[in-house]
Symmetry: C2
Subunit: 261 residues, 2 copies
């Protein structure tokens, strides 16, 4: 089982949910499995906070964060996990089966990170663009005949899996408290991953360099931006690597802007 | 993973569901995880089969069985599993944690049985009376602060657990097909459990004997009936034991009815 303080480092993110009843259902499942941090990105209905389906979780809905973009919602997270099925898509990032979710969450919590678990809109799930902000795609193993899950049910299954099977894989010989202390120590170490926001800053800077160096034509910028997000998340940089890369590209950019003598 | 033929031996039973949307949501989750047999006991709304929430599962709803009582719905099952939390109740039967569900299902499938997974109505879950028809109570490990799950979400979590973690614990060295063959062989052996319907017949006969023997006053009959159902399910009789007991009590009853000379 995850501890309360571990659950507080996990945020559930809903991208453009259409039906407030589904938002409420997600909030209810979060309360059922002891999670409290919800972030809703660009919701379709303005009055989603009043969803009556949030049985036992009205406060959780009231405290939910509303973000304008997925990038903003996951800014402070060091591991962003998209959810979905692979029936109608080919993943551009590593795929994690749902039964491996808990051990991945454990490793990230152990190294002091913050985690986002991201669910897409009801109709089509996360887009390719949304997924470019995700380090991994968590595959929910549904039947090929009927792969598409209801949003509230998909969230319930993922939260159940994390809550009940998380907090055990980094076992060691010590007590739970020893392990929490160890995790806290690690969190000050340079092994920690950069946040999604740090990667966005790095990506923006690299893009500026690409423009300044006349690396790619304007019509390729959008595609390059997409690939860059994916590559940076796939590289598994630690926070120090990420700061170094930032310093290097800043230097390159400055040099590129100096007129040639 | 459970095979298709294993899933066909598992029936999902909803006792007195009030909201057709929840029935539809259960049907959808069943389709997501490859289950097809639904039985609805005394539904509140007559038009439950038209629930629009059964996305991708209208045929499953159309084929669902409607039963007048839980006893009738589980008649052919050899293992009846009630679901719920233990926050507001003390179980009268063995409690199985949700993460142990798959291995229990595997054992029953292996010995050729039929399984029911039973969900109670939205408001209060399964009653003590409903649970007296269950061999075990499957405990969904929800937070003590907010234990009550939405019906569709509770079903999704249980079905996910069975579908993805079932079919593996009876591993052995053979292939999946060897194991299915072995299970089929066992199903003809006397180790098979009696069906819930067989136990109901035995319970009815024992009650007749209790009356004929003037064992208990009339006002105790309801309580005795309840306890008898529980005891018979706790005894873990095999089909042969159950037939023997039936024969014995028939003989006793006949003797009791012969006027003393």
């Amino acid at each position: 089982m995850l501890t309360d303080s571990q659950r507080e480092r996990i945020v559930v993110v809903l991208v453009s949910p259409r039906n407030p009843l589904n938002i409420g259902a997600v909030a209810r499942a979060m309360a059922n499995f002891g999670f409290s941090r919800l972030s809703v990105v660009a919701p379709y209905e303005p009055h989603w906070r009043e969803a009556r389906s949030a049985v036992g979780a009205p406060q959780l809905l009231a405290n939910a964060h509303q973000a304008a973009s997925l990038s903003e919602a996951v800014r402070d997270c060091t591991l962003v996990m998209g959810t979905g099925t692979l029936t109608h898509r080919k993943a551009e990032q590593p795929v994690v089966r749902l039964n491996e979710l808990a051990s991945m969450v454990d490793r990230e919590l152990h190294s002091g990170g913050q985690i986002a678990v991201v669910f897409g809109p009801e109709k089509h799930g996360l887009t390719r663009e949304d997924l470019s902000y995700c380090h991994v795609l968590v595959e929910i193993p549904t039947d090929a005949q009927q792969p598409s899950m209801n949003l509230g049910q998909a969230a319930a299954v993922c939260l159940y899996e994390m809550a009940t099977r998380g907090g055990t894989s980094i076992a060691g010989s010590g007590t739970a408290e020893d392990r929490i202390d160890a995790a806290a120590k690690v969190s000050n170490s340079p092994k920690q991953a950069p946040t999604s926001g740090n990667l966005d800053i790095l990506a923006g800077l690299i893009e500026e360099v690409m423009v300044a160096a006349e690396y790619s034509p304007r019509m390729m910028q959008e595609a390059n931006r997409h690939d860059l997000r994916l590559i940076l998340r796939r590289m598994d940089l630690n926070a120090v690597d990420s700061r170094r890369a930032l310093g290097l590209f800043r230097r390159i950019l400055r040099r590129l802007h100096i007129p040639k003598s």
